[in-house]
């Protein structure tokens, strides 16, 4: 049994906070961590795993640094600038799926009256919280941007830990306008001032300088990765652009995220230089797939099938860099602009615009929208997205499934739909 399987089995058998802390204490030791990192096929995968474990270690360690729960669509630069360790319950729900813990966390959520209709990212995270598997938060910041479930389920976390006074809900306006920016910036400033008054940190814009510089650096490298991928004919089989949610969001504003995105760029560039010419001469070109929304985080065959059938995911909607550079001299306005620029907010036209441009820029032959059970913000637009792509002759497969709960879809049915779609692309 390899180290990854041993980790999985260990945590499945000892599902409690003490064991998680002990495990992180061992695996996050530098020699162990770097030995573990060597088990990954590329430098970017190695750093992704190392930085993920290090960030979890920070969140689970008993130091005096405050912990902040943040939903996916808030700017996590805020936490980093305030010296708060971010913890992302939705990303953790993805880990529960990857570690095979979701059946237990979902069962726990059900027994606490969480509806079966609630998105399993939130249900599994809530179940894990009920099982006391998460570190205790000091602050919780969420928003009404795109995801409705976050506002509600994150508030329940604050009640559980009796920190309702440290729960902040950012109200993001529907439309992008200067008035909206002022409204949003004022809220972010208030949150910042309130947290500073509680932590004793002096509210000063200088605290944003380094974080924003690193965030801008991440942005620059993410754009570089995207530009490289526009003309990349092939990919290493282990590459999956849907794995980088934590660094793209939760680690935005850290040195680790910058290192990681530089490594992704280097890995793909190296592969492109070495392999692409040879591959394109020998084989017929791969079908280029645009991936919309997320993927299942439990073990599944989707990407193996795509790779085997000579289809490559050339871009993922979630990796779109939608925001402008942040200016530390105008921190609240910058973060407000970042949130308001998110294409998942406001009208569906914002999202469609991004998808159509990506389909064009990345020369997509087809698109797959993974329709995650309970995710209204994504599934609600499925029909209009499919129709919009059809107008530019790009077929779309709306693949119904669940990112976290493997029992909520049949692998055989997913496989048939996927293969049927590939046959259409090849016909």
């Amino acid at each position: 049994m390899g180290i990854k399987d041993r980790l999985k089995t260990g945590i499945q058998k000892n599902l409690n906070l003490r064991y998680i802390k002990r495990l992180l204490g061992i695996i996050a030791l530098k020699p162990v961590l770097y030995a573990y990192g060597k088990t990954f096929p590329s430098a970017s995968d190695k750093y992704l795993n190392i930085f993920t474990i290090e960030s979890l270690k920070k969140a689970y360690s008993d130091n005096n640094r405050p912990i902040g729960y943040g939903s996916l669509f808030i700017p996590h630069e805020l936490f980093h600038a305030l010296g708060i360790t971010p913890f992302l319950p939705e990303v953790m729900a993805g880990f529960t799926a990857g570690l095979g813990l979701a059946p237990q966390t979902l069962k726990e959520a059900s027994s606490h009256w969480y509806s079966q209709d609630l998105c399993t990212f939130h249900r599994s995270a809530s179940g894990a919280a009920e099982l006391d598997l998460f570190p205790r938060p000091d602050y919780i910041i969420t928003s009404n941007l795109a995801c409705d479930a976050a506002q509600k389920s994150f508030y329940i976390h604050s009640v559980k830990h009796n920190i309702e006074k440290n729960f902040y809900l950012i109200d993001v306006p529907y439309r992008y306008s200067e008035e909206s920016i002022r409204y949003l910036a004022a809220q972010i400033k208030n949150i910042c001032t309130d947290i500073c008054s509680k932590t004793g940190k002096k509210p000063d814009i200088s605290m944003f300088e380094e974080t924003f510089e690193l965030s801008n650096e991440l942005r620059k490298w993410a754009i570089e990765v995207g530009s490289l991928r526009k003309n990349l004919a092939d990919y290493p089989s282990h590459f999956n652009g849907l794995n980088f949610i934590l660094p793209f969001h939760g680690l935005a504003g850290t040195r680790e995220a910058v290192i990681l995105y530089k490594e992704i760029y280097r890995d793909l560039k190296k592969y492109s230089d070495k392999q692409c010419k040879e591959i394109s001469e020998k084989n017929k070109p791969a079908k280029r797939i645009l991936w919309l929304h997320l993927k299942p985080y439990y073990r599944n065959e989707i990407f193996d099938i795509l790779y085997r059938e000579n289809c490559r995911v050339v871009f993922e909607e979630i990796n779109h860099v939608y925001w402008q550079e942040l200016d530390y001299k105008k921190p609240f306005e910058s973060l407000a602009r970042k949130m308001l620029s998110n294409f998942l907010g406001g009208s569906i036209d914002n999202r469609i615009g991004v998808i159509l441009k990506a389909a064009h820029d990345y020369k997509a032959d087809g698109a797959i929208l993974f329709s995650h059970w309970g995710c209204r913000q994504s599934n609600g637009g499925a029909r209009i997205i499919k129709d919009s792509l059809k107008k530019i002759n790009i077929p779309t497969l709306v693949l119904d499934g669940d990112c976290v709960d493997q029992n909520n879809s049949s692998q055989g049915q997913v496989k048939t739909r996927l293969q049927g779609f590939i046959e259409i692309l090849n016909s």
Binding site: P395, D400, S409, S410, T416, Q419, E423, I424, S427
Partner: protein
């Protein structure tokens, strides 16, 4: 030269042998799948060979389709039922635009352009809108599936079956019988219930004529009529709608060369 297509479905397995010289079906077999799809495929293949008076060595290639397609080691290739059904119907109806297939545990709608599939939709994990739904209801009503069509034809009124779930629908009809509701009206309601489900799927993909219906449920003329009424179109039915997938697979096996 001959090719063979084998469609391993959840309820039945079909094997079709095609003479590639004249595109004529030499033989076909429809058998129950049972618990072992691999054995069912082997048995159906052997029976179809025997029926055709051919030896295995005379079959140039085999394409497997259906849910059990990946478990047929003697097949040269496996292709999904989406492509196979599309290929199977265009051999009979070349200008076809929409295919409705209702099988044992699966219903699908395929949109075609120039004989090729361009879009499709399959039922979700629920058995509603499939042949299994009718089977379960027939059992609950203690009648055979063959009786559905004559009852549909002679009954003018229907009772709405509101439950989508097969299990709940079964409870609902048991309750209706308990309340003394006419069995024939319940049967007519069940047929419309399946037609409603499938109509929604067709509308999602986009209805375009000509339309064809395949699969075991296409033998149930009550369902065919209810669907025609709901969709407002005439449905073309192949001579043997149950072998469409296997026939398409046999054509696609021919195309391998």
């Amino acid at each position: 030269m001959y090719t063979c297509g084998i469609d391993v479905g959840s309820v039945s397995t079909e094997s079709v042998i095609l003479d590639n010289k004249n595109n004529k079906i030499v033989s076909y077999v429809i058998a129950l799948t049972g618990s072992n799809s691999k054995n069912a495929a082997e048995a159906a293949f052997e029976s179809s060979l025997k029926k055709a008076g051919l030896k295995e060595s005379e079959i140039k290639s085999i394409v497997a389709t259906g849910y059990g397609r990946i478990n047929i080691p003697f097949a040269n290739k496996n292709i999904t039922e989406i492509s196979c059904h599309a290929r199977g119907v265009v051999s009979s109806f070349p200008d076809l635009k929409t295919v409705i297939d209702i099988g044992g545990q699966d219903s699908k709608v395929i949109k075609l352009e120039g004989g090729n599939p361009i879009d499709f939709l399959m039922n979700d994990k629920c058995a509603a809108g499939t042949g299994r739904f009718l089977e379960v209801m027939a059992k609950a009503l203690e009648i055979s599936l063959e009786e559905f069509t004559p009852i549909f034809n002679k009954t003018s009124d229907k009772v709405d079956i509101t439950s989508t779930c097969t299990v709940f629908a079964e409870s609902e009809i048991v309750s209706l019988i308990g309340h003394g509701v006419d069995k024939n009206k319940i049967i007519k309601g069940l047929i419309y219930s399946i037609a409603d489900r499938v109509t929604t799927m067709v509308e999602r993909v986009g209805l375009e004529e000509p339309v064809c219906m395949t699969g075991g449920v296409a033998k149930n003329l009550g369902v065919v009529r209810a669907l025609e009424e709901k969709l407002g179109v005439k449905l073309n039915i192949p001579d043997e709608p149950r072998i469409t997938g296997a026939l398409g697979a046999a054509y696609l096996a021919r195309d391998l060369h």
